[in-house]
């Protein structure tokens, strides 16, 4: 028996088609994946299914009830977790759970059996405010809240974006255990390992359903998107012997809490250095100290030859930076953004104009020179942001989760740009939650609880911890973490 039936569903916003004639069925008790690049229409599909939007054409039923005419019945039977953290940040964990329970006319105790597997992990923080939890914990809480009323269908819109590999694994283990309660799960994800956890997946692209099938089937059929060939990395040719980053006993404390707890490492010129760690391990804080945004509490460090305590303004002259939140101005055009940042670094108008054209030519962006950044797809924005951050030929570029939320093919293109920069002698300092990207790095460090637990080339680390790939190395180390939040 089918739990969800979608027939020729269409939805447009003004002239933009978000979904075009999409049809599929989901069986009861199935784990169904919806995959596709940014802007494929996944969120629109979710909102249609939970009756938040009205379709322009076609029909759909959820648990036997029509999404247009039987809104109330549908709403009673679904659990929905929107892409963004749908929690009240100023309420505590317990308060959030209780509130969502009463919302559905039940109590946290009654629904406790369903959520036990998940909630027991965060129960010790029940008096902490949701806003103070780490990304992975927030997602676990949001999942608990969506499940507490024992829905028959669970709709999850990218529940693991921005969550570290260990938390992601745990979250999926929980989802699979929920399945045993007979709950149907529809989830979307950009991670391939998660796609493989689904029983069937649907591939959406630009509002069209391109294919449905088992994960292996779909991943193979659309290998150009999901499974691009690995990147040829010419390797250590460009790496020089001198260090551009040297850090000794660096500490950053906020009150009693040591976010970064005595780390020491060095990075050589031209190296691609992967800086890994779970959510809340202290990566971003460490990066803020290196880029001169924060003062260290203790310890010393030199970046591009300048002291991070006293010479942070000189450091800023020699680095580029791309943050996980978008670092370009949405309301400026591509050319205007480039011009602004180039101008800030003291380039003159002719140089800017010439180099802008060169860059856009290389990125195949020339047609979009005068388009607003806000109108570009996510993957393009990221490529552009990276190109802008190295436009002034810095010694080092810092990338804070530069590829969150995009499909494998786009990520691969992004890494080609990184290699290109590295070949020109720019040192790359990058954080990521994708373990396949970790393998692309020359050298990586893994942070756990504010300390660096391992450092070396990917091959060395795999050997040292006797694990088949980086994913297992990371999981092995991150499971030792005792602190769970920043």
């Amino acid at each position: 028996m089918n739990c969800i039936e979608v027939k020729n569903l269409s939805k447009a916003y003004g002239t933009v088609t978000a979904l075009h004639q999409v049809s599929f069925d989901v069986k009861r008790g199935e784990v169904f994946g919806i995959i596709g690049p940014d802007g494929a229409g996944k969120t629109t599909l979710y909102r249609l299914l939970c009756t938040l939007l009205l379709p322009d054409g076609g029909s759909a039923t959820v648990d036997g009830y029509d999404i247009v005419s039987q809104m109330k019945e549908v709403r009673r039977r679904i659990g929905y977790m929107p892409g963004r953290f749908s929690l009240y940040q100023d309420l505590t964990v317990q308060e959030n759970l209780e509130f969502f329970a009463t919302l559905f006319g039940t109590t946290a105790n009654e629904g406790y059996d369903t959520i036990r597997a998940i909630y027991s992990q965060i129960e010790r923080f029940k008096n902490r405010k949701a806003g103070a939890l780490s990304g992975g914990m927030k997602q676990k809480l949001a999942l608990s809240c969506a499940l507490v009323h024992k829905p028959s269908v669970l709709l999850l819109d990218e529940p693991t974006t921005g969550v570290d590999p260990v938390s992601r694994k745990e979250l999926w283990q929980m989802l699979l255990s929920i399945k045993e309660h007979g709950i149907t799960i529809v989830a979307s994800t950009p991670y391939l390992d998660e796609v493989r956890c689904c029983e069937r997946v649907a591939f959406l692209d630009q509002g069209h359903l391109r294919g449905i099938g088992t994960p292996t089937d779909i991943l193979e059929r659309f290998a150009s998107v999901f499974n691009p060939p690995g990147i040829e990395h010419s390797g250590s040719g460009a790496i020089a012997s001198d260090n551009v980053i040297e850090v000794e006993h660096l500490v950053k404390a906020f009150g009693d809490f040591r976010a970064v707890d005595d780390i020491s490492f060095s990075v050589r010129r031209g190296e691609i250095f992967g800086f890994l760690g779970a959510n809340g391990a202290g990566k971003t804080t460490a990066m803020h100290m290196l880029t001169g945004l924060n003062q260290p509490t203790e310890g010393t460090g030199r970046v591009a030859g300048f002291d991070i305590r006293t010479e942070h303004e000189q450091i800023k002259r020699h680095i580029g930076y791309m943050s996980q939140r978008f670092s370009l101005y949405d309301d400026l055009t591509v050319a205007e953004n480039i011009r602004l940042f180039a101008g800030i670094y003291g380039m003159n108008d002719e140089d800017i104009a010439r180099k802008t054209d060169d860059l856009l030519e290389k990125l195949d962006f020339a047609d979009h020179k005068h388009h607003l950044v806000a109108s570009l797809p996510l993957g393009w924005k990221q490529k552009l942001a990276f190109s802008v951050s190295i436009f002034h030929e810095p010694d080092i570029v810092f990338l804070d989760e530069p590829t969150g939320g995009v499909d494998p093919a786009t990520r691969r293109q992004f890494w080609e740009l990184i290699y290109d920069a590295a070949a020109r002698g720019i040192t790359v300092f990058v954080t990521t939650h994708y373990m396949d990207e970790a393998e692309y790095c020359d050298r990586i460090s893994i942070m756990v609880d504010g300390k660096i637990k391992a450092m070396g080339t990917p091959a060395q680390l795999k050997q040292e911890f006797n694990q088949p790939d980086m994913d297992h190395v990371f999981t092995h180390l991150a499971r030792q973490a005792t602190r769970t939040s920043d």
Binding site: T291, E313, Q314, K316, Y321, L328, L332, G343, I344
Partner: protein
């Protein structure tokens, strides 16, 4: 040099905003077209009830002179004071004039009759103005006695007693305050919320360049806005600046310096736009009320009067009225302009200092 690119960026962002360009053009126009009619404390149409206990020729002459005055609306003759008071209670009348029983007899005997004026003083201004005018009418209807000297009144500067002439320069202050105060207050918080400020903070841009790039667009907007206001004042109301118009521009620039810096300071200390607006609103209301825009600062109690020494709005309003209405020269406003410059510079320095690139 980098300043050029930063300023360009600010202007582009203002231009791209769906709302700001319209606001910048429409706001001064709406303010100048509507507010002078509203911010009019002229007391008109005061309704007077008369209780005439004398019913003589002289008392009727007094009643006629009230009826004839275009300042008052004659509410009618009431038999008793209680009846008239009832009218006041039901808001049908504002002032009651009671003429005593032996009014004309006492007048002819050269004695002072005791006329009673009772005014509804819930609205203090209306009550005070109504009874002040009414007592002037009563006094002038009395035959000149030998013990009161002839007293004349000469109103300087505002001969037609036009309230708009008094209020329009003050409106400049309100326009500059809202345009140059609120918009910058939202600006940096906006970048904080969008996350772009982090990107700027890792570039070698100096604090001064960054803050100046934020301030300069608002100064240019202030120049534009004030020119529109001056033109409208002349076009709609025929009100022009009595003194040298250059001083108006100097004062406006000083005011813009203060408000834009102040807006940025609040922006630097706020995490969300909501907080920025609330805090800004709090300061704006307090400064405005204590500035002497509506009521004379000299009437305030001592503690409130002391705050005017640090209130730039007070200096600005004083000075701009001096130039605009009283034909003041540089000498007349030097003291206020100096104070504005001092406060403005301190605020600008504070704005730069409170912006942290490294914490």
């Amino acid at each position: 040099m980098t300043l050029k690119y930063l300023i360009q960026k600010e202007f582009l962002q203002i231009k791209r905003n769906a709302f700001l360009p319209r606001l910048i053009v429409m706001f001064p126009i709406v303010v100048m077209c509507v507010l002078p009619w509203i911010m009019n404390m002229e007391v008109k149409n005061v309704v007077v009830d008369v209780v005439d206990n004398d019913r003589s020729t002289l008392s009727q002459r007094l009643v006629h002179s009230i009826e004839a005055s275009n300042y008052f609306i004659f509410g009618g003759l009431k038999p008793t004071y209680a009846d008239a008071l009832h009218d006041v209670e039901t808001s049908k009348a504002d002032v009651v004039l009671v003429i005593p029983q032996h009014y004309s007899a006492q007048l002819t005997q050269q004695r002072a009759p005791q006329v009673l004026i009772a005014a509804n003083a819930v609205n203090g201004t209306k009550g005070a103005m109504g009874s002040a005018y009414l007592s002037q009418i009563v006094n002038s209807s009395l035959p000149a006695t030998n013990n009161s000297a002839v007293v004349a009144q000469l109103n300087l500067y505002n001969k037609h007693q036009d309230y708009k002439l008094f209020m329009i320069p003050a409106l400049f202050a309100i326009v500059i305050m809202l345009m140059c105060g609120f918009l910058p207050a939202l600006n940096i918080v906006g970048e904080k919320e969008a996350g772009t400020i982090e990107q700027i903070n890792v570039t070698p841009v100096s604090k001064w360049a960054f803050i100046l790039a934020k301030l300069i667009p608002y100064w240019i907007i202030a120049l534009f806005v004030i020119s529109v206001c001056l033109l409208l004042a002349w076009g709609i109301y025929g009100i022009t600046c009595q003194g040298n118009i250059a001083w108006v521009y100097v004062l406006v620039m000083l005011m813009a310096l203060f408000w834009s810096s102040f807006g940025l300071i609040i922006s630097n200390y706020s995490d969300t736009m909501q907080q920025a607006i609330f805090v800004m609103w709090f300061f704006v209301v307090s400064m405005l009320l204590l500035s002497g825009l509506f009521t004379p600062t000299r009437s305030m109690p001592q503690w409130a009067y002391l705050t005017t020494y640090v209130n730039p709005m007070h200096y600005f309003i004083d000075a701009i009225r001096t130039v605009f209405v009283r034909r003041g020269t540089w000498h007349s406003i030097a003291h206020q302009a100096g104070a504005l410059l001092a406060i403005g510079s301190v605020m600008a320095a504070w704005a730069v200092n409170s912006y942290k690139k490294n914490s």
